[in-house]
Symmetry: C2
Subunit: 380 residues, 2 copies
């Protein structure tokens, strides 16, 4: 293998795959990045077994030469050092040459680096996914759905399936669900796909989706989702992102979202967020994060919290509408803030169905995102 | 105590004193910020016993009313919560009222906060420093001297005096020295003070000077330094910064800076920094940070490092001048980079006095800053 390549293009591809590098792996070969140089360009691969990312760099982009390929071939290079040294090379042009025993020489300007490469044959093979079940979705929409649900996954590894986001497809509706048993977040969109196509119990780690989110470009782009038995592939323009599907059966959450509210509150999102944020500061000191919401009249609600050591925070905020029975409820303010932060609409609707039933939070304009929080049972 | 105050001004003063708050203190009263409201303004005080910071807010600034003082008095408020809640209050105007038992009410917009205050009489008294020995120095110059030396202090608490920077004044020359026994950094300036005034063995913790540096404004300002037996006071416009002087006698380092070089190298700072930075990336993986510098001809030197596992980095860089005997020396590249980063001049001078004698690094234009690094003894 011998080639010349532009530094910025190589660096960009490295940044993409670096999110999958396993620095603490027990499989030595996975501490490297695999480079496959073919006649049409080079492919970089990194994997931590849960995630595998591939990035392709073509020989040319928009008539600009990116790579001069002198000899094809493959090598695995030590990732940590490779990632950092490429960024810091003195020239915009890089020469990479692999000789016997995968000895690799990188030249750029006056710098010459000799690297001990590893045998690419030892690198795990990519899974082959049947591409007959493909969902195509706008990258920006996918990012938004991840943002709206990913924060609500469980951190508790004792129930691994809850550390993931459930992705369901039925009758062209793609639905993401995440819950840690104390709260739940869902986001649904309609996708343009075969009405017969269904996805069921596809659960992807919240951390993985977070990494995926960083790779999806902000500009208009399409992500093709290919699901197989144990793997999902997210295909972007020059990047392939493979993720393992989490084992286990996701609990059925479809019946816990009630539509019959005892009390319905409509309030300006920012007003409520800021008031709860202040009450949270105090409740946080008590470790419980308990904040109370109480409303009786039609014009305002009271947000309050207290700490035996520090004191009290109390605030009246104006409401747009408050209908139904008087409400007095305690909840985890951190969970409430997490939900409020991903709601973009100016006003939100909060539904209460009883002192011990989930609080329902949703934007006033959009029924495709719903958040649930279990209230606390508190005295008075 | 009862007063109204502008949020931004209070917040700015809190940010200054917050650098001295001790969140993990065994002295409960020090977990608070003391507020003293007098007829001319309010003073905030925070302390972790090593550092004490006071910030004063006058009633008016440039004809703008900052504080409306209704009733003077003092209170100590829980720092962590106080610092954060003030930032997040809904209005630009804040009312603070202290009633019986130091119960404090903070009102802003629709928010009302009750805080359990503490007795200000329990707060430690400020030391009184005799102000007959004062050095006045530009804030920007003081910041620069701290930057040029502070990084070289020892992290090893077993010799506490070396975790500080030595500040000496003699014949109007103020000199800062820091060393961790492997390297040494000095910076000297001439100050406009009484020629008789001398400071000897004043050693201030590197961490403390780092905190001080963050408080000194970037604009033109003067810092007055007042030294007493066990304390130094840095007086700024509205902030007083007290620091403990470290116990112990600082070693005499005045004789280790040789002026007779076997080899003298003049080189472009950026060229050398970038090359050593690349070699450092590899040497870091070996934990030793060893990088070699070798020069024989007149036109270039070679920077190199190697790792048994990863490989080698090698680079020729052009020199401006190389005079004297051939040089071949190994050093800790992290220490070299630390020194190079605080040198602003375009070219630097490096002096070698022998394989096991300190390497001397200084800007080519300025003799008031000198860095020393002990080389490594290495085979060939």
């Amino acid at each position: 293998m011998k080639l010349n390549i532009l530094k910025d293009e190589l660096n960009e591809a490295i940044q993409h795959v670096s999110k999958a590098i396993s620095y603490k792996t027990t499989i030595p070969i996975l501490s490297g990045i695999k480079i496959d140089a073919a006649s049409n360009g080079i492919t970089l691969t990194a994997s931590d077994t849960d995630i595998t990312i591939q990035s392709f760099i073509p020989l040319e982009k928009q008539d600009k030469t990116i790579i001069q390929m002198h000899k094809t071939g493959s090598v695995v290079l030590p990732a940590k050092f490779f990632v950092e040294i490429i960024k810091k090379l003195p020239s915009h042009y890089i020469e990479i040459e692999v000789s016997e025993n995968y000895q690799t020489t990188i030249r750029s300007g006056s710098a010459e680096i000799q690297l001990v490469g590893m045998d690419p044959e030892e690198y795990p093979m990519m899974p082959r996914l049947e591409e007959n079940q493909v969902i195509s979705i706008s990258g920006v929409v996918l990012k938004t759905m991840i943002k709206q649900t990913g924060f609500a996954v469980s951190n508790n590894e004792s129930t691994p399936v809850l550390t993931g986001v459930l992705c369901n497809l039925k009758q062209k509706k793609l639905k993401f669900v995440a819950t840690d048993r104390h709260r739940l977040a869902t986001s649904t969109i309609e996708v343009d796909t075969d009405a017969e196509l269904e996805l069921d119990n596809i659960v992807i780690s919240g951390k993985t989706l977070n990494e995926l989110s960083k790779i999806i470009p902000d500009q208009d782009s399409v992500v093709h989702i290919v699901a197989a038995d144990s793997q999902v592939l997210f295909k972007m323009e020059s990047v392939l992102f493979y993720s393992r599907i989490l084992d286990g059966t996701y609990p059925d959450t479809s019946k816990i979202i009630s539509q019959n509210y005892q009390t319905e509150l409509v309030v300006k999102t920012k007003l409520l967020t800021d008031a709860i944020d202040r009450a949270y500061l105090l409740s946080r000191e008590e470790k419980t994060n308990i904040v109370k919401l109480a409303g009786e009249g039609e014009r305002s609600i009271e947000i309050s919290s207290s700490s035996s050591e520090l004191g009290k925070v109390k605030e009246e905020i104006e409401v747009v509408k408050l209908t139904g029975e008087p409400v007095k409820i305690s909840f985890n303010s951190k969970y409430m803030l997490d939900a409020l932060k991903v709601i973009d609409s100016e006003q939100i609707v909060i539904g209460f169905t009883g002192v011990m039933s989930p609080i329902i939070i949703k934007p006033d304009q959009d029924v495709d995102m719903i958040h649930l929080i279990l209230p606390y049972r508190t005295v008075n």
